[in-house]
């Protein structure tokens, strides 16, 4: 799979860096090199200012006020629904539900659509590379309802899943296929469009976990055609505490509500209640308005740079790191050799990931070490932990060089 580049020129990460105040600091006396973007991305001034402006000028509750501030807050909040719909090229704004994040969005689908539609003996198909957030909600549901979970297997360190594998596993008992768009451990980009098409042909509902993809590559839901697509704001240069559930309107309409409370009701009397239409049916209580406003600012910021260019940039850094890492002694690099997303996980036979991450930190480099919330996958690969470098639009080749220097230093410390 290749990502088409619409923009002819690339952007300059050195210029982008200046928009991220947090990057202008030293850690242990060295310039901060932030390579933990798979966990969360940093926020540009545009996002910080939008949230600050909201609280200083527009703060009010949404959807129920008559006064000016309430109108402004409602308008800012609802405009972001359009921004998200445009960003994802979703068929309509009514299909965009604001959540706390990816995890809540998946739990919402598990507790509403799946609770209502799956019955004992039905099968949920996942893949072996899922993050715990796309495993545990289904395991809880399966225990409660007597469902079976099957996994599309990861067969080697590259971790590429094929349409043949998926097609074979989409048997008549399968009612839901939930899979990650980009693996946070392997850097594999799954062919979501093809997987969704196969499932649709067999009447299987699909959920695509876009936590690692939405902020890093162009998303076109009208082309991908999933039933559900979820992502988190904090991994798209936006704030924590906000995420998105896209759901096909027909499904959202039939689903029962998730949480009950204000905002989501049409009419309430002492003995009965009717609900609003989607998306508001799923947004009980006062929403996280400032975070939604911040999310809107982050998606605009990313769109202005161009998602195709961001993907190309992240990929280039990861491919460069991959190539040079493989020449280090005793290393095992996970993930695909081609079309890698912007991250690379690796394991040294002589140095544990935690020691590596501590040594990197002393040089101002933020890496992640551990199982990356994909314990079953790590077990399958026979690993307890890996170190991971994950890149974003403000990272540079010079930073990758600094990482390689640091790793060489750490290796010689532990092996000489």
């Amino acid at each position: 799979m290749t990502i088409e580049t619409k923009h002819s020129t690339s952007f300059d990460p050195e210029i982008q860096r200046k928009n991220f105040p947090i990057l202008q600091q030293e850690i242990h006396g060295k310039p901060l090199i932030y390579l933990d973007n798979g966990a969360t991305t940093q926020k540009p001034s545009a996002v910080l200012e939008a949230m600050d402006h909201y609280y200083r000028k527009d703060n009010s509750n949404v959807h129920r006020g008559i006064h000016t501030l309430s109108n402004r807050a409602t308008e800012s909040f609802e405009q972001v629904r359009d921004t998200v719909a445009n960003f994802l090229n979703a068929p309509s704004r009514e299909e965009i539900v604001f959540t706390k994040g990816t995890t809540e969005a998946i739990n919402l689908v598990a507790r509403t659509w799946a609770e209502q539609n799956l019955n004992e003996g039905d099968v949920i198909l996942l893949t072996e590379m899922e993050h715990h957030s796309n495993l545990v909600p289904w395991q809880l549901l399966a225990q409660r309802k007597g469902l079976e979970i099957r996994y599309v297997p990861v067969t080697d360190d590259e971790g590429i899943l094929t349409t043949e594998q998926v097609d074979k596993m989409l048997t008549p008992e399968v009612k839901l296929f939930a899979f990650t768009h980009i693996s946070n451990t392997l850097g594999v980009v799954n062919p979501a469009r093809e997987f969704c098409a196969l499932a649709r042909k067999k009447g299987v509902v699909t959920l695509v976990d876009g936590a690692q993809s939405a902020g890093h590559m162009p998303i076109d839901l009208q082309d991908m055609q999933p039933d559900f697509f979820v992502f988190s704001g904090h991994k798209t240069a936006g704030p924590t505490g906000v995420g998105v559930l896209y759901g096909r309107f027909e499904l959202l309409e039939q689903m029962p509500p998730f949480h009950g409370g204000g905002e989501m009701i049409d009419r309430v009397s002492f003995d009965r209640v009717t609900f609003k239409k989607p998306p508001h049916k799923f947004e009980a209580g006062t929403p996280n308005i400032a975070e939604v406003v911040g999310l809107g600012a982050s998606l605009k910021y990313l769109s202005n740079i161009g998602m195709d260019r961001i993907f190309a940039h992240d990929h280039e850094l990861a491919a460069y790191a991959d190539e040079h890492l493989r020449s280090l002694p005793g290393i095992r690099v996970l993930g695909p050799r081609q079309n890698r997303a912007g991250l690379v996980s690796f394991h040294f036979d002589k140095v544990h990931a935690h020691d590596l991450v501590t040594f990197a930190d002393m040089d101002g480099i933020a890496l992640r070490g551990g199982h990356h919330c994909t314990q079953p996958l790590m077990e399958k690969l026979g690993l307890h932990s890996t170190a991971r470098a994950s890149f974003y639009l403000y990272n540079t080749k010079q930073e990758v060089d600094r990482l390689l220097e640091n790793l060489n230093k750490t290796l010689s410390f532990f092996t000489s």
């Binding site: 544990h352 990931a353 935690h354 020691d355 501590t358 002393m362 199982h371 307890h384 932990s385 532990f414």
Partner: protein, 142 residues
Amino acid sequence: MQNLLELYQAVILDHNRNPRNFRTLPAANAQGRGENPACGDQYEVFLRIEKEALAEVTFQGSGCAISRASASVLTTELTGQTRAEAKESIKAFQTVIETGEIAESLPVSMAAFSGIHKFPARRKCAMLAWEAAMQALEEANR
């Protein structure tokens, strides 16, 4: 770099490379398990208690240099101690990890871990096997 050297003292590097008593103990009559769910590090500590004393102490498992070396040091320090002494040693080690303060009577191999209190994220690594040993001792009391 100074902090790092302190963290990974010669003692720690040595025990990491050549862990002592790194094996299971079929004759064990108490054992404990330490696991750090955040990173997947896990150790098992085996005790063979004869009368009141720890006749043999071994460990098995995997983890970072800090956790492995501290588990290895644990086995060398606790072997031969009485149950009460072993509990005191574990408490003393915990103090070193949390405060960096070294009591005069503290063995060098335990004092080597004093740099860890400056790295809060790594304290759990150092304590993993020691918590497992405490668990084994308490289990043996029952």
